[in-house]
């Protein structure tokens, strides 16, 4: 009886050792994503088959944790726990994660620093991505102007914010943006007004900080946006989302809108927008945007595979797909992409991608807009 017990314990130990040895050499790359369906579909249908064809030695296992608890952040928590105990976190690659969003992750060195040595293609990533050493920016999106060239003459297309305001007032009812809290495309119109009145310097707005002096200047932005209120679609009607704005543009109710590059490009590719639709970006200071950053846990069980995957997503091949399949912006310079694609998007290519800090600034922005621009109640009558 006792012998049996010893034998079974030995067997169990053997299995455990065997499994962990197998893990050391495993070829699977565990990728986790909590992004929208368009991104997870794109990984399943384009990136993973492409990568496995180029690297037959690896097997990518994609797990979608969108809407499950904290998404990727929960798995990063698991990776941190594994780092402390020296276990395999069973995560090799986060499709998107804010590597500095939790202090413990930074302190523990949870994420691997990406250099030209371990990911050669990181050298091609543009400055505008403003990446931390652990971040792998690989796709971007920016708000821009979409207009119908059938109704907007080429020489009339605004190139600065001041010209845009002028154009809107000269063409009442032909422009629309959504409420700033209901979608980034409308928010960009409002934040750009704030940047306009604070000296066109987005770097003044630091995330996590709150400068009352800056907020004191917001009323000038309300004045600016109030000056076009009556000229907005249906004398100041603001839809409640990015999609309703695109719909108004699609059915010809308006001829110019602010739109997310990826949503506009995807709608254009699917033939949902007028064929004469063109995209353009302001030349003085572009609208806000942002990049998605991937990261690799430093204790990943398959670091080598993860690094190979990172290098692959930054290859011109995948970066081209970022533009063509999901309508995003590439993270590498446009020069690295086919000339044909460059001319097609020449009007929207920008090296600067301003960001809006949100937080308390965001609350002040939204409330100020609702109380001053949307209501159009004269503040003096309070």
């Amino acid at each position: 009886m006792r012998n049996l017990r010893i034998v079974s314990i030995c067997l169990l130990l053997l299995i455990v050792v065997g499994v962990s040895v197998a893990q050391e050499q495993r070829k699977e790359i565990y990728v986790y994503t909590d992004s929208d369906t368009n991104i997870s579909d794109w990984w399943t249908n384009v990136i993973i088959p492409g990568f496995e064809a180029a690297h037959p030695e690896y097997d990518v296992v994609l797990t979608i944790v969108r809407g499950v608890g904290g998404g990727n952040a929960d798995l990063a928590g698991r990776a941190l726990a594994a780092l402390e105990t020296g276990d395999d976190p069973q995560v090799d690659y986060f499709e998107t994660i804010g590597v500095d969003s939790v202090k413990e992750w930074v302190d523990a060195g949870l994420f691997l620093e990406i250099t030209e040595e371990n990911v050669p293609n990181i050298a091609n990533v543009v400055e505008a991505t403003n990446r931390l050493p652990q971040e792998i920016p690989y796709r971007g999106s920016q708000v821009l102007l979409a207009y119908d060239s059938e109704f907007v003459a080429e020489d009339e297309v605004p190139t600065t914010y001041a010209e845009l305001i002028e154009w809107i007032n000269a063409h009442p009812g032909e422009f629309v943006y959504n409420r700033p809290d209901r979608g980034g495309s409308g928010a960009a119109m409002v934040t750009r007004a704030i940047f306009e009145v604070t000296g066109q310097d987005p770097s003044l707005f630091v995330p996590g900080e709150f400068e009352a002096e800056l907020v004191d200047q917001f009323p000038k932005a309300w004045e600016l946006l109030g000056s076009i209120h009556e000229s907005i679609y249906e004398e100041g009607s603001y839809p409640a989302g990015n999609t309703p704005v695109l719909e108004l543009f699609a059915n010809g109710s308006v001829h110019m809108i602010t739109a997310w590059s990826d949503q506009a490009l995807q709608a254009m590719n699917n033939g949902l927008l007028p064929e004469t639709t063109k995209l353009t970006q302001l030349q003085d200071l572009p609208f806000t945007g942002g990049y998605a950053y991937s990261a690799i846990p430093s204790n990943a069980g398959n670091v080598e595979g993860a690094l190979a995957l990172a290098n692959y997503v930054l290859s011109p091949e995948v970066q081209e797909a970022v533009v063509e399949s999901i309508g995003g912006f590439p993270a590498i310079s446009w020069e690295g992409l086919p000339a044909e694609l460059q001319t097609q998007f020449s009007d929207v290519i920008t090296e600067t991608v301003p960001t809006w800090p949100g937080g308390d600034y965001g609350a002040a922005m939204v409330e100020g807009w609702y109380n001053n621009v949307a209501t159009n109640i004269d503040p003096a009558s309070d």
Partner: protein, 296 residues
């Protein structure tokens, strides 16, 4: 309840048992109500009436004074009342004839109308909103059809108060018609026939017999619709203007976007108090019906 009524009054114990059983049966919902609605509501009311002065809490109306001194809050509250009453008036104008028709008509067409009337019950609010945007919007279905007939001055109600009313009326039709038809069915045919025998016309029958007998269903439809419309969110948010806003949208905005939970709480308590007044009307209407039925 049944045990209570059928048990013979001879045994005091069995009467007691019946009473206890009745209380045990109503306890879970009652407990849920108290724990999840009454206590939090009471806490909110108390919180909105207290202020912190140098670490000491005192009684104050300051939050309400602030609410009623803010032109935007007041305009949102007034706007909510306007939408609610306009919607209710239109609901009754639309639903009364429908209910009377469904009560007295028979045959295939009536059955078809019945199905059509109930149809909105099965359409989720968000789907309705997007359908209405497509239907009522600029260059939408209605606009296109009108322009075929040469009407080009169509102005879309989308993102205006009118669109909220259209959406809410559409959503409220099935419930209102159901309540009104149920009320009308309680009026027996013989009553109307005998009135007709003594020479009463249609109008007299409606005014002297039908109207007095369906006051209660009308009150029920009024109060329940009032509550639903006053607190509505999806329709005013997707179809209505950015400003003014109905209270539901305004509260969410204040809480989630402006990050001012205290003010959102004050708005919620004001909304709650208004709605509880109408709730009281409903409870009284139903209770008086119960008492009357027991008397009968």
């Amino acid at each position: 309840m049944t045990t209570l009524q059928t048990s013979p009054p001879s045994s005091a114990w069995s009467r007691w048992r019946g009473a206890i059983l009745a209380y045990v049966l109503v306890a879970p919902p009652l407990l849920l109500m108290v724990l999840l609605i009454f206590i939090p509501a009471l806490q909110s009311i108390v919180r909105t009436l207290t202020i912190d002065v140098e670490g000491q809490s005192g009684f104050s109306f300051s939050r309400y004074v602030a609410f009623f001194n803010d032109p935007i809050s007041v305009s949102n509250l007034v706007f909510t009342f306007q939408i609610v009453f306009l919607t209710l008036i239109i609901i009754f104008i639309v639903c009364f004839p429908l209910a009377i028709y469904l009560r007295f008509a028979q045959g295939r067409i009536a059955a078809a109308v019945q199905i059509l009337v109930l149809f909105p019950l099965f359409v989720p609010g968000i789907i309705l909103c997007y359908a209405l945007i497509r239907f009522l919007g600029t260059r939408g279905t209605l606009d296109t059809v009108l322009s075929i007939f040469g009407v080009t001055e169509y102005r879309t109600p989308y993102l205006k108060p009118d669109a909220i009313i259209i959406g809410l009326v559409w959503e409220s039709i099935p419930f209102t018609v159901l309540v009104l038809t149920a009320g009308l069915r309680q009026i027996s045919d013989s009553l109307i026939e005998s009135a007709r025998d003594v020479g009463a016309g249609d109008w007299t029958i409606f005014r002297r017999i039908i109207l007095p007998l369906i006051t209660r269903p009308v009150l029920i439809a009024f109060s329940l619709n009032f509550l639903g419309i006053f607190g509505s969110y999806t329709v005013p948010y997707l179809l209505g203007p950015a400003a003014p806003q109905m209270m539901g949208v305004f509260m969410q905005q204040t809480f989630g976007q402006y990050r001012r939970p205290d003010d959102a709480e004050t708005q919620a308590v004001i909304t709650f108090l208004i709605c509880s007044l109408v709730g009281l009307l409903y409870v009284r209407t139903v209770a008086s019906q119960r008492i009357q039925q027991e008397d009968e």
